[in-house]
């Protein structure tokens, strides 16, 4: 029996993904160890006492191994069959959070499980959303070229995000945007991506360029477009209306929407972080939240870019080869806040330098490309879509996390997959990856 089950586990399993997974988890524990290492207190036994973060992470890794084996032992059909049910369960959990939720660091997104452990449903929901989206897109009666299907797919992907925003977890919500990559692969018009990027570019331009100058530039672009397309415009009056509409929209966003959002929707520290990422300083006195607090005669401390600055110092001081394992002065001095979770990349950058970072990012890229390779060899659409979901989620997390530590992206509380300390995050990614490995093992099967 055991022999049979063993052969059934390993049969068709993609060992490369598993090895990359194992190496990354190992690196993660090492990084957490570097952050917490204290030569005075350290003994070999402290790896197993479970009162330090690295030993806890080791415990989580052990749980993950059990979970992974359990998933590999399960039947692939289970995931297609229960995808929708899981999704409903996930949404229910997130709704339940509003009632049962515990306030941690200002966000009400945790459900206490007792024993010091907390569950973050938004994190778990990624799995369920991925499954549900795969299920929906792989259904035979779904024609994804239709707008209706696109809206439904987007709704499936975005509902947990909306709930997350309501729980003040903007970072987690952003992660759900990665599902657009999947939808793009499955036939979402490329124009939507282009529009999305253009919008992003416009927002960044608004922050970078002086408002009047940008307005003039936009007007000139619009005028130029009309001039070059004058023949088409003469033939089709609607085109002119569209161009003018786009121009009005852009200028509106640039003059009113963006300043409004930064001053009234975001809190001061959020605006400051975004401004920092593009290297500018935000004037907090314009912020309505700040104004309100100041009206209540509270002195508002101006948030500064301490985190990013220290993070960049730590990574930058690594040089080519780094300072060596456990020799990072910034890491030992605890200069980088939240270094074991969101800023774990800094310890790696300091200790192993550019070469270390390059190899590390290379491992990630290999994993991502391997997953896309796996996706493309699936016979069933469900598995393919699911694989793309995994790749997209991983990609989004890695990009945002690494970019924020090196000062290319505003600081958002998004963990580095498989590396950052945290049970929820590690378990989620383990389940995500091993469901894919399970599905891939049955790639010859057509799952519905």
């Amino acid at each position: 029996m055991s022999n049979a089950s063993h052969s059934s586990i390993s049969k068709g399993v993609d060992w490369m993904v598993i090895w990359l997974y194992a190496i990354l988890v190992f690196i993660g524990i090492l990084c957490i160890f570097m952050v917490e290492y204290n030569p005075d207190k350290f003994t070999a036994a402290s790896f197993f006492t479970f009162n330090t973060n690295y030993s806890k992470q080791l415990l989580f890794a052990g749980i993950c191994v059990l979970l992974a084996i359990f998933i590999l032992l399960s039947d692939s059909k289970l995931y297609t069959a229960f995808a929708n049910l899981f999704y409903v369960f996930g949404i229910a959990l997130m709704l339940a959070t509003f009632v049962l939720g515990k306030d941690i660091n200002g966000s009400k997104s945790w459900i206490p499980l007792g024993g010091g452990f907390n569950l973050q449903p938004a994190e778990l929901c990624k799995i369920f959303t991925a499954l549900a989206l795969s299920k929906y897109l792989s259904q035979l009666d779904t024609d994804f070229s239709k707008t209706k299907s696109q809206v439904i797919a987007a709704a499936i992907a975005m509902s947990p995000a909306v709930l997350s925003v309501l729980q003040h977890e903007a970072g987690l919500a952003l992660a759900y945007l990665s599902f657009f990559i999947v939808m793009y692969r499955e036939g979402l018009p490329g124009a939507i991506l282009v529009i999305g990027f253009s919008f992003g570019a416009l927002v960044v331009a608004t922050l970078l360029i002086e408002p009047n100058t940008l307005a003039i530039v936009l007007t000139l672009i619009a005028a130029g477009t009309v001039y070059f397309m004058r023949r088409q415009v003469r033939r089709n009056r609607n085109l002119l209306i569209i161009i003018i509409g786009v121009w009005v929209l852009c200028v509106g966003i640039q003059r009113f929407a963006v300043p409004y959002i930064f001053n009234n929707v975001f809190e001061c520290y959020q605006s400051q972080r975004i401004y920092n990422a593009i290297g500018k300083d935000y004037d907090c006195s314009q912020n309505s939240t700040t104004q309100k607090e100041e009206a209540n005669s509270k002195t508002v401390k101006k948030p500064d870019d301490y985190n990013v600055r220290q993070s960049k110092i730590a990574i930058g001081s690594g040089g080519i080869l780094g300072k060596g394992f456990l020799k990072g002065t910034q890491t030992r001095g605890k200069y980088v806040p939240e270094q074991h979770t969101d800023f774990i990349f800094t310890s790696l950058g300091e200790a192993f330098g550019f070469v270390g970072c390059f190899i590390f990012l290379g491992l990630y890229l290999m994993l991502l490309l391997r997953i896309i390779f796996i996706a493309e060899r699936q016979r069933s659409a469900f598995s393919r879509v699911y694989a793309y979901c995994i790749a997209s989620i991983l990609f989004f997390h890695i990009t945002v996390n690494v970019c924020m530590t090196i000062g290319l992206f505003p600081i958002i509380g998004i963990p580095l997959p498989l590396i950052s300390y945290g049970g929820s995050s590690l378990l989620t990614f383990t389940v995500l990856i091993f469901i894919l490995v399970r599905l891939d093992a049955d790639r010859q099967m057509v799952l519905r």
Binding site: G319, R332, G333, I372, Y388, V402
Partner: protein, 694 residues
């Protein structure tokens, strides 16, 4: 359907790769192309601490330490940890009030933040240290740290040894290359300053890692970049500390100086200056206060008169005048001059102490009787020497001799700011006489060590050295050798190991002068300076000066045939050379040569050391200063009685003023004049109060 969107897989892969390239580019930028992050990281995390080595010790010639190190304690405080401290007890022990406590606390926080320790009471003395130490458990957040300070076990030779002080900006600018920082200590005067580089040793640097709250986490790279502190090297000096003590004792209550040199080596055995001070006053916590008091003292105890006091040498110059004349062949030892009590050849007579005929019948007689006429005449003969065309040329030749004798030039002793005395230049006379219209008569009294001639006691002692050695001397110095001496130290000691030949005066000429100087103690002006069994060659001097009573001078060396000590003593405004300077020198020579002073002369030591020869003007200054103090005291007692709190503080401040605010002295003078009569009254009334306290 899947085939339809196959190309988009490539697009997605390209997006992934593009993003990774962007990240790599930024990593390259951060890690390879900007060095600022490495520097910032070091500033962040590496704490450089300078480790100060022990300063070198200075020993005397019998290997007794005369300047060494001891430990004092700084009371340090970490302000954010002081919750629950027994402030009252602390203030009582330190003798401060709570306002002062709060002030110091605020200063500490401003200086060093409340997380880092800073000095609360620097350099507490032994007694306070003991009381603090036993009560330390009551003062969380406070701790005592050791701090090495200099100590002078014999409390002598303050002006020779010098002191260390905090470096100021001027010093830092001058010594940029030596790595001093603000707050460092360096030798300010004396040997401490001259041998600063030897004594200070080599500072070490310790690098440690600190965390974001500035707490030290451990050493950086296990100390791979640390440099060890090298202790300063010791100095072995020629000083005889017992002789130094005796000299300072004998010069007590006088203004003057005594210098004793070993003529064989040039090593200085004793260099006393009076008034002096206890060098330990400038080491402890009272340093600033004491320094202020010393600087203001009108008798100038910080002035080393042995190298900075410039006196007309008077008759002590006569042996040198004789040497010049003998060497030039102008006179022979048999030459005599018919002195009748004064020298009349130049119009205005120069008086002589002796009237009896024949007291200047030969060089020997003239020198032992110190005949002014004789040496005036000899001097004129030297200047008007027919070998030179003009008196100016004759004078230049004479001046050449003087400079070779070490007069009018700096000797380059190993103490800073030595004065050169004065052998006047022809240009000075040319200016005053409108060209070369001057002759030997105009500058006549140079021949008896007056006119514009000035010499330091050190120069006079050095002159005795070359007469004792019959023609050579070694530059006087204190430091004979340096511990672990190396080739680089020749900068310091090389010049003290070179023999200076003083022209080519023959041994016969020296013999003649020495014999005459021997007669000074046998039958001449300094019979009282004789020591049984020792041939002392000496010369007294009574120098007229514009500052009041004559200076009392005495120069000597002994024993005649194997000279071991050469000495010069100057007592300002004390009268005849034989009355004060001679016995002081004699006692010092006896002490050095016989290692002890004979019992019959011990009362003499007592008599001389107690003799008060301080000029009246200076005494008056002290009296005024004391009366100011008394008046202040009276005021303070009065204020203590006053009920208001403000008044007390006001008056307390006032009493500390004379040290802190030198400029106010004059005002205070007038104040006391007016306030004298009322000031007495309260002090009478208050007599009860101090007695109650007992």
């Amino acid at each position: 359907m899947p085939v339809y969107n196959q190309s988009r897989s490539r697009v997605i892969q390209l997006i992934f790769i593009a993003v990774f390239i962007v990240i790599t580019a930024q990593l390259l930028n951060l890690q390879l192309f900007s060095s600022e992050y490495t520097i910032q990281a070091e500033n962040n995390a590496i704490y450089r601490k300078v480790v100060y080595p022990d300063r070198g010790i200075i020993y005397d010639r019998k290997m007794r330490a005369i300047l060494e190190n001891t430990i004092m304690y700084d009371l340090m405080v970490t302000p954010n940890e002081t919750r629950g401290s027994d402030t009252f007890t602390l203030c009582t022990i330190l003798g401060i009030d709570t306002a002062e406590y709060r002030k110091r606390m605020v200063t500490a926080i401003i200086k060093n933040t409340s997380y880092k320790p800073s000095a609360f009471a620097p350099l507490v003395n032994q007694e306070i240290y003991a009381r603090l130490n036993e009560n330390m458990y009551k003062f969380p957040g406070f701790f005592l740290t050791e701090r090495p300070v200099r100590t002078y076990p014999y409390s002598v030779a303050a002006n020779v040894l010098g002191y260390v002080g905090e470096v100021d900006t001027t010093y830092l600018r001058k010594h940029k290359a030596d790595g001093y920082q603000m707050g460092d200590y360096a030798g300010i005067t004396g040997l401490e300053s001259s041998y600063e580089k030897v004594l200070m040793g080599q500072r070490g640097v310790k690098r440690s890692i600190r965390d974001n709250k500035n707490r030290i986490q451990g050493s950086y790279e296990n100390g791979a970049f640390d440099t060890a502190a090298l202790a300063g090297r010791n100095l072995y000096s020629s000083m005889d500390v017992e002789l130094q003590q005796l000299a300072e004792k004998l010069l007590g209550s006088k203004i003057g100086s005594a210098v004793a040199i070993n003529p064989k080596t040039g090593g200085i055995l004793a260099m006393a200056t009076s008034p002096t001070y206890d060098p330990n006053m400038l080491t402890g916590s009272e340093r600033r206060k004491n320094y202020g008091r010393l600087v203001l003292d009108t008798a100038r105890p910080l002035l080393n008169r042995a190298i900075k006091g410039q006196y007309p040498p008077g008759s002590t110059f006569k042996p040198m005048g004789a040497l010049v004349a003998l060497d030039e062949g102008i006179i022979t030892p048999a030459y005599g001059y018919p002195c009748g009590g004064a020298y009349y050849a130049c119009g205005r007579p120069v008086k002589c102490e002796h009237h009896d005929a024949g007291h200047a019948a030969s060089l020997r007689l003239a020198l032992s009787h110190s005949c002014n006429s004789y040496f005036s005449n000899v001097f004129r003969m030297a200047i008007d020497n027919p070998a030179y065309k003009t008196p100016q040329e004759g004078y230049l030749k004479w001046k050449e001799y003087m400079n070779a004798f070490g007069l009018g030039v700096r000797l380059n002793i190993d103490l800073p700011s030595e004065d050169r005395g004065n052998i006047p230049d022809t240009s000075g006379y040319n200016r005053d006489f409108g060209g070369t219209h001057w002759n030997s008569c105009n500058i006549l009294t140079l021949g008896i060590g007056q006119d514009r001639m000035l010499a330091t006691p050190l120069q006079l002692a050095n002159a005795m050295c070359f007469i004792a050695n019959k023609g050579y001397y070694y530059t006087p110095h204190f430091v004979d050798s340096i511990e672990n001496e190396n080739i680089d130290d020749s900068v310091y000691l090389g010049k003290y190991r070179r023999k200076h030949q003083v022209t080519n005066i023959s041994a016969e000429d020296f013999d003649a002068v020495q014999l005459a100087m021997l007669d000074v103690t046998l039958s001449g002006t300094a019979v009282g300076a004789r020591i049984d069994g020792i041939d002392i060659c000496a010369k007294t001097g009574t120098a007229q000066n514009p500052h009041g009573k004559n200076h009392s001078l005495f120069v000597a060396f002994a024993p005649k045939d194997n000279p071991r000590i050469a000495i010069a003593v100057v007592v300002e405004n004390a009268g005849f050379g034989s009355t004060w300077a001679a016995p002081i020198a004699s006692l010092m020579m006896e002490k050095y040569l016989n290692d002890t002073i004979s019992a019959k002369r011990l009362p003499e030591v007592d008599r001389i050391s107690k003799a008060d020869l301080i000029p009246a003007a200076i005494k008056h200054w002290y009296a005024v200063k004391d009366s100011i103090k008394l008046a202040k005291l009276a005021k303070q007692i009065d204020a203590d009685k006053a009920p208001t709190f403000e008044n007390t503080i006001d008056n307390k401040k006032h009493t500390f003023d004379p040290e802190a605010e030198p400029n106010r002295k004059d005002d205070d003078n007038s104040d006391t004049g007016k306030a004298k009569s009322p000031a007495i009254k309260p002090s009478e009334k208050q007599l009860k109060k101090p007695s109650n306290k007992k």
